[in-house]
Symmetry: C2
Subunit: 492 residues, 2 copies
């Protein structure tokens, strides 16, 4: 089946419809929006094996992964439904009037978060369900009260279409107006450009390459009216191995990292692409076990030809840099091919002298950086760009001794992990999936968990409003019984 | 006294020191940071009449205004001190581990807001105290745990220096490390450019012109690492007068608006620069009274020569546009001079055809746009750019009938006011001082009230951390007794 690029006229029409729908949808009561999100989950489940087989065919991901990702997708639909039905997320603040205050009376002022308008979402190649058509961006924007236009990722347009149809059915079932959700196609950059530059677009969600995300960010900031772009782009997720821990558990650590590096053919934004170590007697054992595990690993099929070709190029490039030595690669491949797990190592001196080695190689590859001592390790961390995550493997005693190192890591990453690997992103309120540039374009927000809704809202104050005109969340009666900061005190 | 522009070397050194200080200050316990903010308030008060007379001399603002602004400044120092001492503002979320969960165990994850790093603040011409050296930007950034470099506004460099010295004294008194706060001078754009482009700067606060704010925003977005800019720039704060209300209280409405237009020589970002009316019998009476009040008003001295010259130019330009008719101007001036209150009117047709009339004229000037009917009024509102505020004067019955109009206004402004004027910005939790572009560069944040602290923080997740390494706010014991979302339930 062919999915033709949407024309500029179609894109303009989609944004016009999205804006008209927004003016109605933004007033939809939370219960109905919640029912819509739950109906989306139901309709996605009702797609059954057709969705699973289509996604498997388009992405080469195994059945268990697709089924798991479907669960995550329907899970966040229901999570946001619960969130908006409970209602406290709007951050209601109420300051009642003091008509007798001198020198001037104090007016009644109330504030809450309101949706910003139509949002453009780009489907992600590496998560055909959870970060695509009904992914976290779409669902959190719909939960906020925004309308959404999704550009299907060309590598899984059929999967995207199935999910889009499920969302349409859910909208009909619940009685949500047309065009609250729309689906467009585009292989060419022009489609994305037209969407982001359209004056009615008020925000953008994107997960993909640094080049792609940065290009959209630049377009959005150069508009006559700049708009926020939430692009999750590039992260090498450094893992720091402290010496005492390595001495005690070199093999266990190597096992854990080998699994994380090869998981999903390394196609996770949280893939551990950098391992930082201080030279010590246990290091050779660790490197040896890791090499063995990588050599024994299988070669996977990557998501699409672009990602596969890019991996081969970047891998060759990395291995060709001064001082970089291959430690081990899958013995299932005779040469450097797409989807082939590989690990290399380099000295801190060579790493620090070569900016290219700080760039992401998207796939099952990791680079070990060998530092002479703790001082050099700190220099390497200083040298790193912004990351989604950073991990430290260490005994509690040496973690405590390295509090300064952890403080420094905090400046570099959105999520810090002790004695664990970065892959595996829990969907929960405490999850920060986002970090300093270039891991994302806006470190102040997360794309996973309930707080992802905050990307698509802004606060509005209502001063001296009659009760009848106030939004439900700000009326005296508090019919939803939400938490509100009422004259500077939390009340329900 | 001469205040020489800081050199590029001095700016680089200031940022280096700000970063070094940040790595210590960010760990300072809330109690001590709160003591620092309170000491700043004390030291500003201790400046006594010297501060008041210096500010009066530099800004031409009257004593009562400076004294009032000083109270607002010390007030927000103490407000943020209370906020961080209470501690719940960090939005702590805790999700405890489920080690037996299948298929994979759930790790312990905790999240809170942490400061982003050194912040550059530009002093504002129109608020020598409340939006300048110890203004809302500086104090909310210090409260967040960021270090701050303030560029003194050249028009009140002596005032700025006095306040900077007070902050230094407060830091010494409380034992806050050096360089947490720094003060630099710069008449030339190069100084601001160097500050914003410095790689160690992590955020920018600015209040001033659209041209100035947009230039800084563009510089910041084009850095190798883009950073957030909170620029409050340009707003004409439309006031809509509904017909029934105008029939009943034309005189009272005119009085109220005349006071708001002329307040502080019109030098407020919330000055009502646009009055939207539907032709009706009461209109002539309203216009007549407003003209009389404006004619009886005095001509004030504006803040500095640049603002004065700009007002004369923009006023002449506005009055020269097709269809714009002068309604009244202060009789104290024979020609169009700086600080002269004036009101003009134009038809909606001419207004809609002329983009220039939607631009801010910074000073005591307002333009009445006469609409034939409600339909034309809605067209005019559609045509408006983003605003800090929008007001509606109407009887409750007609407000209810115009719910769609209010919904539309919500898309245009950060604060909606019923039966009141936009001037007078309460410092309270429910205040949103910020709005869609070009009123600010980021409608998702406020520059007034406790939520202003959110501009200078980002969330960080701590996964599988031993208790000893967790920030105080996330430890099990909750020693500050703050509100936390604990396994999806609010707890204290």
């Amino acid at each position: 089946m062919e999915y033709e690029d949407s024309t500029l006229q179609e894109i303009d029409s989609a944004l016009q419809k999205a804006q008209a729908a927004f003016m109605l949808y933004k007033k939809t009561e939370p219960k109905k929006k919640a029912a819509f999100l739950r109906a989306i989950a139901d309709e996605i489940e009702a797609l059954g094996t057709e969705l699973v087989s289509t996604a498997m065919r388009e992405t080469h991901l195994p059945e268990a992964r697709i089924v798991g990702e479907r669960g995550r997708t329907t899970g966040h639909c229901r999570m946001f439904a619960d969130l908006i039905e409970e209602g406290s997320w709007v951050e209601a603040r109420i300051d009642t009037a003091l008509p007798d205050r001198t020198p001037a009376p104090k007016p009644d002022i109330r504030k809450m978060l309101v949706p910003v308008g139509p949002i453009v979402v780009f489907g992600a190649a590496n998560f055909p369900l959870a970060y695509s058509t009904a992914g976290g961006d779409t669902i959190s924007a719909l939960a906020a009260g925004c309308t959404v236009i999704v550009k299907a990722h060309p590598a899984h347009a059929a999967t995207s279409t199935l999910v889009a149809q499920a969302i349409d059915r859910a909208a009909k079932k619940v009685g949500i107006e047309e065009s609250v959700f729309q689906h467009v196609y585009g292989k060419s950059f022009e489609v994305g450009k037209a969407l982001v530059e359209h004056p009615l677009a008020k925000g953008v969600g994107f997960t993909g390459s640094l080049a792609g995300g940065k290009a959209l960010f630049d377009l959005a900031q150069r508009r006559p009216e700049p708009i926020p772009v939430f692009a999750e782009m590039s992260s090498i997720n450094p893992v720091i191995l402290l010496p005492d821990s390595l001495s005690q558990q070199a093999e266990k650590t190597a096992d854990m990292l080998a699994s994380s590096i090869t998981l999903g053919v390394g196609q996770f934004c949280t893939n551990p692409g950098l391992i930082l170590v201080i030279d010590n007697p246990a290091l050779e054992k660790f490197v040896g076990v890791l090499a063995t595990r990588i050599e024994a690993s299988t070669v996977g099929t990557m998501l699409h030809e672009g990602i596969a070709a890019n991996y081969v190029t970047k891998l060759k490039q990395s291995l060709a840099q001064k001082g970089v030595k291959l430690v081990g690669k899958s013995s299932a491949a005779s040469e450097n091919v797409a989807g082939m797990p590989a690990v290399a190592s380099v000295s801190a001196t060579d790493f620090l002298a070569n900016e290219l080695l700080t760039e992401e190689v998207f796939g099952p590859y990791s680079l070990i950086v060998r530092c002479k001592d703790r001082h050099e390790l700190l220099l390497v961390i200083h040298h790193l760009k912004g990351q989604l995550t950073s991990s430290v493997i260490g005994l509690e005693s040496e973690l405590t001794q390295n509090a300064d190192l952890i403080q420094l890591l905090q400046e570099k990453a959105g999520r810090l992990i002790m004695n664990g690997v970065p892959t595996g992103v829990e969907v929960c309120p405490s999850m920060q999936h986002g970090g300093p540039y270039p891991s994302t374009t806006d470190s102040r927000f997360t794309s996973v968990g309930i707080d992802a809704i905050k990307r698509f809202v802004r606060p509005v104050s209502f001063q001296n409003f009659p009760q009848s005109l106030l939004p439900m969340e700000l009326k005296d009666e508090n019919s939803m019984s939400i938490w509100r900061l009422y004259n500077n005190e939390w009340r329900k």
